[in-house]
Symmetry: C2
Subunit: 455 residues, 2 copies
């Protein structure tokens, strides 16, 4: 029923079928249906109206989108505070302070761990005494290629190289196609991990405004390419953090064509694509005819953050990336890749993702519903994938200033300035819906408007 | 018995106890003792002399040591061929071409995999949804610190940061303490992985001669420090590749004192230390009073090359290294570290290493015995730890030229020029004793002198 609501089968404010009809449709007892309805009511998804039955209450409605900056600023070196390190030391940028959660891991994780366990037990004398080949386990790359083939990209296993997660892939990509002092275009607001990489590699950044629905503004990028010598451009075409933007087809075509005209390396961060609630978009890389797109991804966002298994398709930089991976890290863990390959081969990843997308959409809806009840004028993105919402609070809000106070209250927020090299977005805030809502999380969320000074 | 010989209980050419005495000592039957003696005889470790009993035949004898270069060359950029990538693509620099070996993994690996499997099954909802903390799992670092405490270094868990293997640690170390164009001193012959890192990071190298017994020549380093502005020095004080040199106490003290006088960063590669046949030397880092030594290591050489788990103690560069790790890779895999920590906690690593050292010494002895029978004048190192021997062949030998021919014959050799940025050591060759000897390996080894043109 919750799925029916999430799928849009029962739109906002619509009446649900009667209890008798629901019993017949699902072949369950009246008590079961009543129990399910009570749970949905407790979550605020449906409400009982006397003598009328149950009605759907809460659905995401498009709210005013964030206002992107329009003026471009000249390329500059990157310097970001150590805020990110502090957030990571508190166990990840998850907006609300995590506590050890109990309960079993979901089915997908249990199946994954069983597959890895089997790969471990298969280890014989020959395995542990050798390093994995530089590109990674061929069977794992084969499974990855198959998934991409279904997403409209006819890649082969030979074009892929396994990395230690997506951040490692982005690092190798930038090291391969840029030299110290080069200018790199990024989305703003955009992923802080990329800004940190540019800082460490002594690259200059030019921030291109991104809209919460459609991502990087191609007009602004065109303008920047005319004025400055830009070496590379990092984009997340599918459900970019922080707002969850999905780049439309036309913008994708324009980006590829500009890359050709300006000899631009395009680094595609695909890490959120598989979370797409309605559909999983094709990678930008599928449009790349001349090896100008470097595709980076991992399973951290939709399977497990503890796998540390990512991959990269380096296009014309493939050999250099392979060499850089070898030199900086030698190899990846083979048994781990073999375990994940088995997990994919037996269809368990597919089943896991199907569940995961429904879960994420429900969690998004609950967060959106809560934010709609906040006082003050709050702009919020309504993403069709990804794990977070982007909020634009009134100009009087300073999310960076609130960081410490929120921490005292047991909440780790991700302040707006983290998503730019310019210190902008002091009134911006990313809120995650990655985790299931429980009373502790709901309580923290309810304290947030007051902490932010909303009234 | 083989252990008794390896331990030096029965020196070269000594007579073994009689069969009757051996039966009584080990509480086994005459047939068992005779079978064991026949196997040792087949391996050439003992020989039967008519009416006199069994005698020990083969023990490593110090052979002429390699002649290190003495003249210093000016710092230069590093350029090495893609030979290393080719060797790695053939499954690691293992000198003899590997084939899939059958048989069970040794006890240590089975216990390790069980411990990792248990850590996987303990994963609950809380684990897979969070990244590991930037420095790595605290329990694993605690176990590492305990091991180092026993090696004379009172390090705490807080001073350690977990990496993806030792090569990754060396990379972070160089990135943290050097900038493009800086000069770095290394051992020659020395580890090619470091040369590759210097090349990728645009660092200049100055090669300091190293002796097969005592490692980097401190007089030569002193001379180089007077003439050039050297930022960092990479050394392997314990069983350096390729020759297995062990740096004496006096040289260690001098190196630390020179580091103080010249504001030098010392990067210690400790990866072979735990293989020490007679004893495990204290780390150089134990003498470091002012945080000038960056200590790097992993379990790849003595436990499993497939773990991809290393660590670094960054001294005064600790915070920068933590930040670099976070930015280039985010995190390590937590369950893997927890599994290895359990393995250490239950004493299984200790037991594994005890067996491993005996096995490696036996394998070294068999390789040394074979080489002694080669024609021509061949200098060879006699290491007390590590996994390889370093050979200096007659000047007419060109090991690089032989590489392709050897490959045709099913042998992957590691040619001398790989161990230097200068193209020297064309007559040098590293031979590994990491793998148990079997008929296929023995056959390959016997074809080698002819391939090398020895006669």
């Amino acid at each position: 029923m919750s799925q029916g609501i999430a799928d849009g089968r029962w739109p906002s404010h619509s009446r649900l079928p009667s209890i008798r009809e629901l019993c017949a449709r699902h072949g369950v007892s009246k008590a079961t249906v009543q129990h399910a309805l009570r749970r949905l009511e407790a979550r605020g998804v449906v409400e009982a109206r006397p003598k009328s039955g149950y009605f759907v209450t809460r659905l995401p409605e498009p709210l005013p989108p964030p206002r992107p900056k329009t003026e471009l600023e000249a390329p500059r070196p990157v310097t970001i505070s150590h805020l990110l390190l502090d957030i990571m030391a508190r166990n990840g940028a998850f907006d609300l302070k995590p506590a050890p959660e109990t309960g079993e891991a979901p089915y997908g994780i249990t199946a994954l761990n069983r597959a890895i366990g089997r790969a471990l037990r298969r280890q014989r004398r020959s395995n542990f005494q050798y390093y994995d080949e530089p590109a990674g386990d061929a069977g794992f790359r084969e499974q990855l290629a198959l998934r991409y083939n279904r997403r409209g990209w006819p890649v082969t296993a030979d074009e892929l190289c396994v990395t230690s997660g997506c951040q490692h892939a982005l690092f190798l990509a930038l090291m391969a196609c840029c030299q110290a002092g080069d200018v790199v275009a990024v989305e703003t607001p955009g992923f802080y991990g990329v800004l940190q990489l540019l800082e460490q590699l002594n690259l200059k950044v030019i921030e291109i405004p991104a809209r919460a629905e459609t991502g990087m503004d191609m007009d602004a990028l065109a303008q920047a390419l005319e004025r400055w010598d830009i070496r590379a451009c990092v984009v997340s075409p599918a459900f970019a953090t922080p707002g969850g933007a999905l780049m439309p087809d036309e913008a994708r075509a324009r980006l590829i064509s500009m890359a050709e005209d300006h000899n631009l390396a395009v680094i595609e961060d695909d890490i959120y694509a598989e979370s797409g609630f309605e559909h999983v978009p094709d990678p930008l890389k599928a449009r790349d005819r001349n090896g100008r797109v470097i595709h980076c991804s991992s399973f951290s966002k939709v399977l497990s953050r503890d796998l540390r298994l990512g991959w990269i398709a380096g296009g014309r930089w493939h050999d250099r990336i392979l060499h850089l991976k070898l030199v900086t890290q030698l190899a990846s863990s083979r048994y781990l890749q073999q375990g994940v390959a088995d997990f994919m081969r037996e269809g368990a990843l597919h089943a896991h993702l199907r569940r995961e997308r429904l879960r994420l959409r429900e969690q998004r809806d609950e967060l959106l519903g809560d934010i709609r009840q906040w006082p003050g004028t709050v702009g919020v993105s309504v993403p069709q994938g990804g794990l977070a919402l982007w909020l634009e609070l009134p100009d009087t809000c300073d999310t960076l200033a609130v960081y410490q106070a929120a921490l005292q209250a047991g909440i780790v927020i991700t302040p707006g300035p983290l998503f730019s090299a310019s210190g902008d977005y002091t009134n911006g805030l990313r809120l995650s819906f990655a985790h299931p809502w429980n009373d502790r999380r709901r309580g923290a969320l309810q304290r947030l408007p007051a902490l932010l000074g909303l009234h």
